[in-house]
Subunit: 674 residues, 3 copies
């Protein structure tokens, strides 16, 4: 048994006592202690156990779980059960079941099958949340709350009459008159323009709708979920809850992350990236770290494989270790596995876990114990330090995600099927961000509304609207003061409404950067060759803007082929002590990295480590300590050159010079005196 | 013209006199005689000819057909026409049309478009069936009846209100209280638990439903069809029918075969396997042979290609011969082609036949004649002998099929698309059974409820529940008495309700076989290496159980890789004079065959012939004769070593020693004096 | 600026003034003039601008546009806006929205979302069309009218109650009694036969319906659209319009082209074939040229790429030139780009155009100007000459297209997926027609009803019914008088109702050609080898008829494999001074061309030029001039051998002997004195 402290860093799992005989709890808790877990997430789907019949509550079992855990030194994150309303509720109000775009109703028997806008669902949710607050506010051992579970806009969301009416009211509130809406979105084309808001349809997927209408609907559905959570957070706080409240979700699920977390205290994040894709989790952690001052909680991750009714995605030995350390390396303070004990029935009975449904520890138990021990050893360093900013930020916009869903603009690069539409998030993640971190560039991923003053180099790829978060108004001063902005491709090409600017292909870039976009060509079915400023030649990708450089602007890449031969594919314009590097196409990874290093040199943004591409190196800094957390991401050895002597807190070794990190290995390196 | 006897073995076709001018019948019958056919299936879709308006019957035309055929020495299998109710009926009761899972109604104009549970449909069916009995019970020439046509659960079946209400009533009858249902299926998870049976939805495909509920729905739909047929059989018998009654269907169509045939006298089987897949038909015949004491009828098969509105799947010369002989080799007594004369219109006008729609014999006519002649020559041998059991049986469970449909558990092996779900029937057929028969192991395929005393070696791959048919209770005695059981993988891993056991990964195997399953890992996306007892090395497949051998258990294969290195992938435990060979993974075909031969040696189960893999050799034995029917399955020459002298009844040759069988050739070899 | 004449040949674009501030018009018109455009299509979707509220009309803006254009020497093709009814109309009559086969309603916000049979939609359309006639009949500058936009049967069309009722009425009108319908279509099979027309369902796609019913429904939906257009044409004419009326559509969209154009004055044609597929546009132009005496209008084509919400399909430099010239080469008198100025919003904002949404000319502007200049130079030649017939015609039947959609008969050749159904139009286009024109055979593509006397060699591949347009009755005389008919495969195999003939596999071919079809085999999954009359050997394709040649018939290809060895795959029967060449299978391209040249030799039909396969050479002839228009189709150099001296009207060069045409180059060669 590992002696754990009941404090951050938290290592734990999701626990479903409602699914098992109460007699099993002591054995479960014994095993939890043996593995060094100090937190459990409890109650997320247990509404029918909490309120078996309307208005009849039963919380005794839950109190006993929380208390037994607490007595064993294990904290609880308590969950509101709104994702799974009981059958008596959906049976009484069948219209609370989501009405899908294809006209099919959801049915009882799954989860997240109710409409966040339905009044009866909201009322019943409010009642159970208030009861939970009444019972558990201030309860010893409860260190936080989770609202709902993985709330998100499934496909296009719900098309019930309540949603349609709320959507129309929203449009009316935004535009006041239909004429204004018609004008803003250009609905006069195709006679789409409305004479009353009551004529506007909830835009179903089988109809070829206007992309601005579609995007607005997507925002609306996302906002409806956020509202539903805000209500819950307000009720818990009004009920006396004073520990952090959050909602566990994946940024990968089409829900606007910053909006949804606006009223939350802590960002809770679920991910199931496997051993072939760990950088994807790093991307999202580099994003969510910046949404709240408080360290985020990784509320769900896989121990060793996924599985619903089918088992799949085995992860290699060492994955559990590396994956478990990621949140702690990247600014979080909790890692919870899904799930503690595998289900014995139901839709997810094949999913990996910590112990099997018959209570046998899985083969990863040793890695779990190893992580728990390491966290204890590194506790002071982890809690005393935070991620050190490198000066580099990259924009990621939830609004852009909706824009590209409604209007993909370009086909997916290298898609085996010619016409597959562009996927914003995975392009940024797999094609752009990955190249950056493999070059040891260490970006914060930030929302367009984020403050720029923390950064010297800001990169905005595929950011169609820079009016979001007033970015376009904040940029000039920041540039004047020495900021370097790398923009494009497909940046600044849309108004906030998803329409084009009509004075120029860009809203602001031509005047800001002193360029003139002569032609814009598709990157399908062919690409165009470019000679870059450093002598390399390559094609670009996705889209090709042919730029004329004016006003002292310098070409950094020149097209070699008709009809754009001689025009620039990338250009640099110094502004004040900073400048803009505009990209007219997406360069290949190596050129992109060279460009960013070229631009970074101007403002002292450099790689944070001299290390192999497969090693994540996260500088940490605090008032009393500094150092690095290193996690190997690709299950092969990695090398790192240390600039100063360190102590590896996990092993106690003193290290300097060239060191290695084992496959899926982790090192917590505290800087030592030379 | 071939002189045929109007008795088994029967060779014939489906005949649709309702589709052609009556004047054509003499020419049709002349051609039938010329080709040696002695049976026709008549009437299966002709309801609107039999009852053109509600309550107005017209059977004159059908009497005349039966009589003309009889006069020509051709028997009739008469069919009930319930698969195609007339338009006046569906128009009067539009709610009898199937309501699909996606909310779409079927329409008049196809077949099998009505709900087996609909009372109006059942009533109308009962009336026409009674009329048919009244007219044709005892009719000379009528040698049997076929009920409906290829009844099966299309996709998830019908979701009409009648079905939903019957499903709820069934649940109530099974569980008595909702609490019991909730507890049995673990519905407390996700708050799925119901407070009334009226809340239980008919589980539509677009909802992520609980696999136990889904499986129960699949059973219910299958049982509803079986009930519908039982009603028809009862009415025919009550109406005086005393010849065999059956229902022609494919086991490949998601309908529980043993249940559906429970009230039938004869198993009727349709198949359209082509020349690249003939072993698949052999599998099903090895299965259906064991369902009834009476020899089965192969009611439909293709002559030379398939085709609905599109022609496809040409079969090579010789296929018709080999394919026609399969049922006679494997325990049946009838082979009927679909169809006699190609349709001149409709949805299947491109399908292959015996004569074309303009009455011209197809190129396979010579093969049909050859088969008819052969059957006459081998008549005595075929009717005097039956398939001789080899002592080997392999389980196939219709219930398991539904279980795997509701919860595939594992991905499909070697699937081009990683996540394609496991397909039970085709895995057993293509990956397991095929390996067995190519090694000349000659199994009966049996239902879990089948008596074990006929067998010395029983193989149960992918049989999740061994409580089915009380198998788990019958096994210990059978093992004690010398039976050898080969179990796994994924055998004994589910309760009858499709939930997991919670005391161990298996329900009974650990205690029966003295093993302990330490780990269970997925076979996706990678496989694990094993060294087998015979020195071979290979990966396994689908799932990987890592077993600790205890209590005298012997490992037959050891994992070579972390995290299971050293654990057993297969183990042998002697029990009484028999034993259990447990498989923790699916071995490749060659290892599987070696294992089965290794186990077979213990109980004298051996290959039934020394022959090439492409030759099907079926031992036949009777009071007065014995021998083998050989059918070449892969259109290439085959060799067979005879253990004793024989006479080939088709050619009259006396043969001994090494002989050959021509591509798609057939030999009927009767043992002769030495 | 290019000085253009306001007369044919017309070069122009689609113009959407309703989408832009009126102040922009002078700049737009200046740019149009600069590029040499002399026609604009205006108003096609502008119903809501014309009638912003029911009965309130506003045509002032449209008058001003027409007048400004006219003043600048630019003509207008005025459009009826019926494809996009205003929101006030669809909101008042939600039942006018198309009800799809899957039960989903269309919604306002797209285009062509209303049912052509809906009375309210028809009434409202009639009112706006009458108003347009009242305002614009005789208006100076308006040179023609376009009705609606790309009307077509989307998938299976509309399934609303109005459509269902009209369909039943149509059946009643056609058949008078249900018995006649039942008999004609063979509905007795499967008890499909009806006792009342009210029982006949609108055949939805999810039901396995009878192909004759399905085909009739497809015809009905197509005819409903044609009726809707006829109404508009009648109203315009009644309102005083005396310039040509047409409807712009693609033959590639499942709408019966000859029927739809029956009441039109001019065929208007839209195409978006890209640079890898230009022969496809040539096919359709060879077809539409023959539908009306008046030169057709190419109303829409792409300048340089396509794009809805996603940009794709960039065309190489030169494409715009070659593509723009095609209609003028092939018998048209107008080419209009889609679109003039790219949209700034909406569903098609990524589409290529002449100028961008911010008014910048695209890179193809030079090619547009070059085309305009060339048209002026070649004006007299183009207007004085017409396409010269070569004596060769190939049948293309819109009815056959529906037949094959309802019953594909054969799988698609070389389909990567075995079972993909046959696609009539693309097979004829890509596999047959392409081979012909690359051999410089220059066919007219004609409807089966077309007069044969203009042709000496007529080729009818895949024409299932030759009773269409009385072809079968007209053929014998034409053959007697020296015509040569190449027929097959799959020609003459269906009655007008899509059913089979029952006396023979063909309706007429056996008696006409003196052959007997012994066997018919599928071309899936294998093909059969043939030795052709010229010594070549190859497989055929799709279907294999094995023919016995009788009565002086000569085999032109003999099967080499069982079961058809020795039978003919192709045969020649002389008739009168002509003859029939029957094809029992589809030969490969080289054999097909050899066969057609062999047959052509008999009647003096020969290649029209000695030129490379990638060069389109169109002979033109008129009372005062003759010559050739040559367009290179594959973006590589082409060679042409001139039989006489010519002048290239575009360059003024005098040429003779061997000349070249540049990639995507165009030459207009007027025969000169030697």
């Amino acid at each position: 048994m590992i002696q754990r402290t009941m404090a951050a860093p938290w290592l734990g799992a999701a626990y479903y006592p409602e699914d098992w005989p109460e007699e099993l709890q002591p054995e479960d808790i014994r095993l939890m202690q043996e593995m060094g877990l100090n937190v459990m997430r409890v109650g997320e789907f247990a509404w029918s156990r909490m309120e078996p019949r309307e208005g009849e509550y039963d919380f005794g079992w839950l109190h006993r779980v929380v208390e037994r855990l607490h007595a064993a030194g294990i904290a609880t994150v308590l969950c509101t059960p709104s994702a799974t309303p009981p059958a008596w509720l959906t049976a009484k109000h069948p219209d609370m079941l989501v009405l899908r775009s294809d006209g099919q109703r959801q049915q009882h028997g799954a989860r997240r099958h109710c409409c966040s806008n339905n009044p009866a669902y909201r009322e019943a949710t409010a009642r159970i949340v208030k009861q939970l607050a009444r019972e558990f506010a201030g309860k010893p051992g409860v260190i936080g709350w989770q609202l709902d579970n993985e709330i998100h806009r499934q496909e296009r969301g719900c098309f019930c009459p309540v949603c349609e009416a709320k959507f129309r009211a929203r449009l009316q509130a935004r535009f006041e008159t239909v004429e204004e809406m018609n004008r803003t979105w250009g609905l006069g084309l195709w006679s789409m323009d409305y004479t009353s808001f009551d004529e506007v349809p909830a835009p179903r997927a089988h109809v070829f709708h206007h992309p601005s209408l579609t995007a607005e609907w997507l925002h609306f559905q996302s906002d409806s979920n956020a509202e539903f959570l805000d209500m819950q957070a307000d009720l818990l706080r009004a009920g006396g809850v004073d520990v952090p409240i959050g909602t566990d979700m994946m940024p990968t699920n089409g829900q606007h992350y910053p909006h949804t977390n606006r009223q939350m205290d802590v960002v809770q994040y679920n991910h199931y990236d496997d051993d072939s894709h760990l950088w994807a989790a790093v991307f999202w952690m580099d994003y969510i770290r910046n949404l709240k001052p408080r360290p985020f909680w990784n509320t769900e991750t896989s121990t060793c494989w996924n599985g619903g009714v089918t088992i799949q995605g085995y992860r290699e030995p060492g994955f559990c270790r590396a994956n478990s350390w990621l949140p702690f390396a990247l600014g979080g303070e909790m890692n919870c596995y899904w799930l503690w004990r595998a289900h014995w029935a139901g839709q997810e009975l094949m999913h990996g876990s910590v112990v099997s449904s018959c209570g046998r520890p899985l083969h990863i138990a040793d890695e779990v114990r190893e992580v728990a021990e390491g966290l204890e050893r590194a506790r002071d360093f982890l809690t005393d330090t935070a991620c050190a900013r490198s000066g580099l930020a990259m924009h990621f916009s939830a609004q852009a995600w909706d824009t590209f869903q409604a209007q993909p603009m370009v086909p997916r690069l290298a898609s085996p099927i010619g016409g597959r539409p562009y996927a914003y998030a995975s392009t940024l993640n797999d094609e752009i961000y990955r190249a950056l971190i493999e070059a040891q560039l260490r970006p914060d991923i930030i929302d367009p509304a984020a403050d720029l003053t923390n950064y010297r180099l800001v990169y905005s790829p595929f950011l169609p609207c820079i009016e979001e978060g007033n970015l376009s108004r904040r940029l000039p001063d920041w540039l004047e003061q020495g900021g370097v902005w790398v923009a494009g491709p497909l940046t600044d090409v849309r108004t906030p409404e998803g329409t084009k600017y009509t004075h120029a292909p860009f809203g602001h870039l031509e005047s800001l950067a002193g360029i003139y976009c002569k032609y814009e060509l598709p990157g399908h079915p062919k690409d165009f060759r470019i000679r870059w400023w450093n002598g390399e030649e390559s094609a670009g990708g996705y889209i090709y803007d042919g730029l004329e450089c004016r006003e002292g602007c310098q070409s950094l890449g020149t097209y070699l082929e008709a009809p754009m031969a001689g025009l620039a594919a990338a250009a640099w314009q110094p502004i004040g002590s900073g400048g803009i590097l505009i990209l007219g196409t997406q360069p290949p990874a190596n050129v992109l990295v060279s460009l960013l290093r070229w631009a970074g040199e101007k403002v002292g943004v450099r790689p944070v480590a001299q290390a192999d591409a497969n090693l994540l190196v996260v500088p940490r800094r605090g008032p009393r300590a500094e150092g690095w957390v290193c996690v190997e991401l690709h299950n092969r050895p990695a090398r790192l050159v240390l600039g100063r002597p360190v102590v590896d807190l996990l092993t106690g070794e003193r290290l300097e010079g060239k060191i290695t990190v084992a496959p899926f290995g982790v090192r917590v390196l505290q800087a030592a005196e030379r």
